[in-house]
Amino acid sequence: MSENKGASIEEKLYTIRYKVDDISHLIIKDQQVCAKCPTKECNDFCPADVYSWRDLTTQVAFENCIECGTCRLGCPDYNIEWVYPKGGHGITYKFG
């Protein structure tokens, strides 16, 4: 059905051009803090599904990041070291 085309996050992110750096610009400061975090809400509020709780750690799919900064402000423990990707890297929008 054409209405649902592009509905999944994978399809949505596929519309964005990325130039992925080799190293992550998003770093979990302390995985122990994530382990104790009762909500793990970054798994939900990130608009690009960067964060997922798997194997008792917060996995960071930094290559999906759209550089919005929600996690920087939204993490209840400010446990994410958030910087911009290296110059010229990360997302490039076509329309914006």
């Binding site: 592009g6 996050i9 519309t15 900064g69 010229g88 929008y93």
Partner: protein, 433 residues
């Protein structure tokens, strides 16, 4: 070591405006941008207003990449499967144009190029890592390029909503989650004729719809649907503090919006060619920091200069960039780049529409925090739609009983007559501060 009159961090509307004005005045300026090109990281709704850009580039509409001239603006109050509409269409919005839809990736490139044509030195694909300071004075910027230190009399901090540089100065604390909204958006392409027909437009006319209600799933939020030449910008912004609590995924929220019956029919058959997300500063006047100091000024989103009630941000950014440039040009004539000298910029902002408009709505941020968003963004919109449905439905019940139902239903939703009046009064105060 080469030293510039100014280094501008960020080639968005604020930075490009500052660069353009200073370059025109003959100052040596560097325009820094972390993206591949100006605009490549930028997102807005997006409506561009004539007035503030015209002050910088007269008759810009003859050359700038614009989409549609907005002749109709709507506010929709959304129920789950219903909508109550308020709107205004006027031929008077055409000559002179009041505003256009636009795309930031195209517009920002054009605008930054104006600055470059005027003599600003573009340094793109370069991240400003930190401010270089001597005591309390800012003297330059450290970049992620090799030997990438840039020195200047003034650094213009126009690095957008996340403003890592502004934060490093300590002029504002980290934005609280209730001071920013996350907006997600799709650019949905449709043939031109479909857009003209669906919205009742001709030629380059355009329409906008803002919508609030059950589409934000009980969160403080506002949706938007704007017509472009051959696409529709559809998105929704919600306060990050509410988003944290709701556990709703932003892109699921957007999918729900796309499936609302009133919206689905406007976008059906369209092809999404881009998904985007961005934070919007919505802290209001209380969140605006000191705007200048020894060797620095801060502009645009980085300084929370956004009027979220009227979805104006780009124009405040441009004007703040222009004012900052004027203050720096004056400071150069004096040879004094101290806080005292550069505070001319703060005064220009204070005397302009920027501060006046932010002041008018200064109570709104507090009000939105005080009132349960479920009441304002879910229960009341639902009650309004149910009341309208009942009023218009002919089913043998008397008009008197229908009217009584409609009024009582809205009152009860607010918690009774007194609470509804209080809400109305508080709302009025909050938007007339």
């Amino acid at each position: 070591m080469e030293k510039f009159d100014a280094v501008i961090v960020g080639a968005g509307p604020a930075g490009a405006a500052a660069a353009l004005e200073m370059a025109r005045a003959g100052l040596s300026v560097v325009l820094l941008e972390r993206g591949e090109f100006p605009g490549s990281k930028n997102v807005f709704g997006g409506v561009l207003y004539r007035k503030q850009l015209e002050d910088i580039v007269p008759e810009f509409w003859k050359e700038a990449p614009l989409e549609r001239k907005i002749i109709e603006q709507n506010l929709w109050i959304m129920g789950r499967d219903s909508v109550t509409k308020l709107g205004h269409r006027n031929e008077g919005f055409k000559e002179p144009a009041n505003c256009w839809t636009g795309m930031r990736v195209k517009f920002d490139q054009w605008f930054a190029n104006k600055a470059v044509e005027a003599g600003a030195l573009p340094v793109y694909e370069t991240v400003a890592l930190e401010l270089i300071r001597e005591g309390n004075k800012v003297v330059g910027v450290r970049t992620d390029r090799e030997h990438g230190d840039l020195y200047a009399d003034v650094v213009v901090i126009a690095d957008g909503v996340n403003s890592l540089l502004g934060k490093s100065l300590g002029i504002h604390k980290e934005w609280a989650p209730d001071q920013v909204s996350l907006a997600v958006k799709e650019q949905i392409f449709l043939p031109k004729e479909k857009i003209l027909d669906r919205f009742g437009l001709e030629g380059d006319e355009g329409a906008t719809i803002e919508f609030a209600g059950e589409t934000s799933a009980g969160m403080t939020g506002l949706g938007f649907l704007y017509t472009n030449k051959e696409s529709i910008s559809l998105g929704i912004g919600v306060m990050v503090s509410d988003l944290k609590k709701s556990r709703v995924k932003p892109y699921h929220l957007l999918e729900q919006v796309k499936n609302h019956p009133a919206i689905r029919k406007l976008i059906q058959g369209g092809e999404t060619k881009e998904y985007a997300g961005h934070l919007i500063p919505e802290g209001g006047l209380q969140a605006v920091p000191q705007l200048s100091g020894d060797g620095w000024v801060i502009c645009g989103d980085a300084a929370q200069l956004v009027n979220f009630v009227h979805r104006e941000g780009t124009n405040l950014a441009m004007t703040s960039g222009r004012f900052a440039a004027e203050a720096i040009i004056a400071a150069k004539e004096l040879g004094d780049f101290s806080r005292t000298s550069l505070s001319l910029y703060d005064r220009k902002v204070a005397q302009s529409f920027i501060r006046k408009d932010l002041k008018k709505y200064q109570g709104l941020h507090g009000l939105l925090n005080e009132i349960d968003p479920k009441l304002l963004f879910s229960e009341l919109p639902r009650a309004i739609n149910e009341a309208a449905f009942e009023m218009l439905k002919v089913d043998g019940k008397s008009k008197v009983s229908k009217q009584r139902f409609a009024i009582d239903h809205i009152k009860q939703t607010a918690g009774g007559t007194w609470d509804l009046l209080k809400l109305g009064w508080k709302g009025w105060r909050a938007i007339n501060g």
